[in-house]
């Protein structure tokens, strides 16, 4: 199977899985809406997300401020729209960093085997025998709370999932005919790894990625909420929820809307993931 044929078959499988599952289509819709919001935020946001207005503190939702204003008079809707950019940025960066690092380590382990493999796999065991959020909190606290460090902290807890998956794919591929053939033709180890093993491990990894996205966004928002992630005045959703906490119940809108945004985003990814997950399950695939 050529690489192109392989990747189009993954795309086709994915689309078929999503198309046949109405809930997944809803999820896809939510994610597309989120992406659109992130791109268009500067054009559709009614106000500057950082502009304070002492005269309009904790204002109820009105036609000027459709979702009300926060404790220093900033427009909640505008901050929410800009917040979509931050969530997507975090999710994409974590996915790229942990996906790349995890895949490389995993493929290398599966391909080389031996002591390197067992040492690295024991390390992933240690990482995985620990609640992810608490590990991310430890990393985030040590790195110092900031948006960039949230990405690093979450990536440091996320890479193990990709490493495990990539390793098992590489192990399965190691003994296959096309790899033997390449070796017989004198291809170097690096070439075999990069051209004949790595590309074929990618499709389950991409599916895994879509399953992890919701969790990544929730963990990042949790760090923001606990004060270990993005810092005010960044319009990050978790930070916004925490800021509104002290103004319950009178000014419920300050933390309720950003919380709703996090929920919908995670739900979107989970709905999509529910359909895509079936691709990973060979029993279902055969049907």
């Amino acid at each position: 199977m050529t690489r192109r044929a392989h990747s189009t078959s993954v795309a086709r499988d994915t689309w078929r899985a999503v198309k046949g599952n109405p809930l997944s289509l809803v999820g896809l819709g939510i994610i597309l809406a989120l992406a659109l919001t992130a791109i268009l935020a500067p054009y559709v946001a009614p106000h500057d997300p950082y502009e304070t207005n002492p005269l309009a503190k904790l204002g109820r939702p009105t036609s000027i401020h459709p979702l009300g204003t926060d404790q220093i008079g900033r427009d909640v809707l505008s901050r929410l729209l800009y917040g979509a950019r931050i969530s997507i940025r975090i999710a994409v960066q974590v996915a790229v960093i942990s996906g790349t690092v995890g895949t490389l380590i995993g493929v290398l382990c599966g391909f080389i085997g031996g002591k390197v493999d067992s040492l690295l796999m024991r390390i992933t065991d240690i990482f995985m025998s620990f609640p992810q959020l608490i590990l991310a909190m430890a990393f985030a606290a040590a790195l110092g709370p900031s948006l960039q460090n949230v990405v690093l902290a979450v990536s440091m807890t996320e890479w193990t999932y990709f490493a495990r998956l990539a390793r098992s794919s590489a192990l399965a591929l190691r003994g296959q005919a096309h790899v033997d053939a390449a070796r017989a033709m004198g291809a170097s180890k690096t070439r075999i790894l990069l051209c004949h093993v790595l590309p074929l491990t990618l499709s389950p990894l991409i599916v895994q990625l879509s399953l992890e996205m919701g969790g990544i966004i929730r963990t990042a928002a949790s760090l923001g909420f606990l004060g270990l992630g993005a810092q005010p005045p960044t319009p990050e959703w978790g930070v916004m929820v925490t800021a509104g906490r002290n103004y319950l119940p009178a000014s419920w809108w300050v933390s309720t809307f950003p919380g709703l945004a996090i929920f919908l985003t995670v739900l979107g990814f989970n709905l999509l993931g529910d359909g895509v997950r079936d691709i990973l399950d060979p029993r279902l695939r055969r049907k």
């Binding site: 606290a141 929820v241 119940p249 929920f263 989970n270």
Partner: protein
């Protein structure tokens, strides 16, 4: 391999994991530039005071030396002194852990019972309205950020309806019962204070429900899938064709055999409860390990950070071990090697 050998081997592995987590967290917290002394004294403290504090906490020594000293301390059962509270970390851990254990256990009970009931109903009524409602509820449950759910619960049940207390384990005017287990429900029963037990139970409702939301959702999804697998098996058809009542088929023949994956997920959920506990305890002012750990992280209180993460790792790994042992009881085909 016999069961005993297996358990011993797993316990050794568990020690290794806890040691690994300790080392990981220790080095991360030492190597990376965030400065606990600056966090404690603020940015404008005089230089000689900063130096003095660094020397007092041993932070002026090379990292390897600090690490070896810490390991040596640990081997003597000494977790060090909290930089924030000035108390022994072990003393703090012993004080705060029971509250977390109690909350997580109540949360786990709700998760398991709720999850299994929802999952079984969903599988038996596959494709019907009850199934759709249960599945959407489950997806909502796994997507809900714990902190948002906690705030919504607080808004509704405390602020608007006024049905439940807003936080803590007991009202401020009530002295806690004599501390025996550190778990308020048990201690109040031991002290024969039924009135206190009822009040404490009321304080449990919101944090435990918030905490178990994810668990109910995760367990019901796995139960549903597993039940659907089992309901299609030949022995279920045989049971039906013998003329057994449907309830008996579902509960005695199918559910028992569908339990294996459910046990796995229940173990994971119990671990996840610790994670959710961090947030729930912060919001509901619950005096547990989660809140202690969060404060330690925020204050860069290194001894407390390392100590609390170790306890959490230990608990989490023990849960995984219990799950694996439970397999043998549920499925005699499982062999340990």
């Amino acid at each position: 391999m016999s069961m005993v050998t297996y358990i011993v081997r797993r316990l050794l592995w568990l020690l290794f994991v806890v040691f690994g987590v300790m080392t990981l967290v220790f080095f991360i917290s030492r190597v990376i530039p965030a400065d606990p002394v600056a966090a404690m004294l603020g940015g404008h403290a005089p230089a000689d005071l900063v130096e003095e504090m660094r020397a007092k906490w041993g932070l002026d020594k090379p990292v390897i030396e600090q690490y070896l000293a810490y390991v040596w301390q640990l081997l003597h059962g000494d977790f060090g002194v909290s930089m924030a509270s000035g108390r022994h970390v072990l003393q703090d851990l012993v004080e705060y852990f029971p509250a977390t254990l109690e909350l997580a256990t109540v949360g786990a009970l709700i998760s398991v019972v709720g999850g299994i009931v929802l999952g079984v109903v969903s599988a038996v009524r596959r494709g019907k309205l009850a199934d759709h409602v249960a599945r959407v509820a489950a997806l909502t449950g796994i997507s809900m950020p714990v902190f948002w759910l906690a705030l919504l619960m607080m808004l509704l049940f405390y602020f608007i309806l006024g049905w439940l207390p807003g936080g803590g384990r007991l009202p401020y005017y009530m002295d806690p019962p004599t501390r025996i287990t550190g778990m308020i429900l048990i201690d109040s029963l031991i002290a024969r204070r039924l009135d206190m037990f009822t009040i404490a139970l009321k304080h449990f409702v919101m944090p435990a429900l918030t905490l178990s939301f994810f668990g109910v959702a995760a367990i019901s999804r796995v139960t549903r899938a597993s039940m659907l697998d089992v309901l299609g098996e030949d022995y279920v058809r045989t049971a039906r064709s013998k003329g057994l009542v449907e309830n008996r088929v579902v509960l005695r023949h199918a559910l028992k055999n569908a339990m294996l994956p459910v046990v796995t997920i229940a173990g994971i959920v119990y671990g996840r409860l610790l994670e959710g506990g961090v947030i729930v305890e912060t919001i509901f002012a619950w005096p547990g390990l989660g809140r202690y750990a969060t404060n330690a992280f925020l204050a860069l209180d290194f001894p407390a950070v390392v100590g609390s993460t170790m306890v959490i790792a230990l608990f989490y790994s023990l849960m995984n071990l219990v799950v694996d042992i439970l397999y043998a009881f549920l499925d005699p085909r499982v062999r340990y090697d």
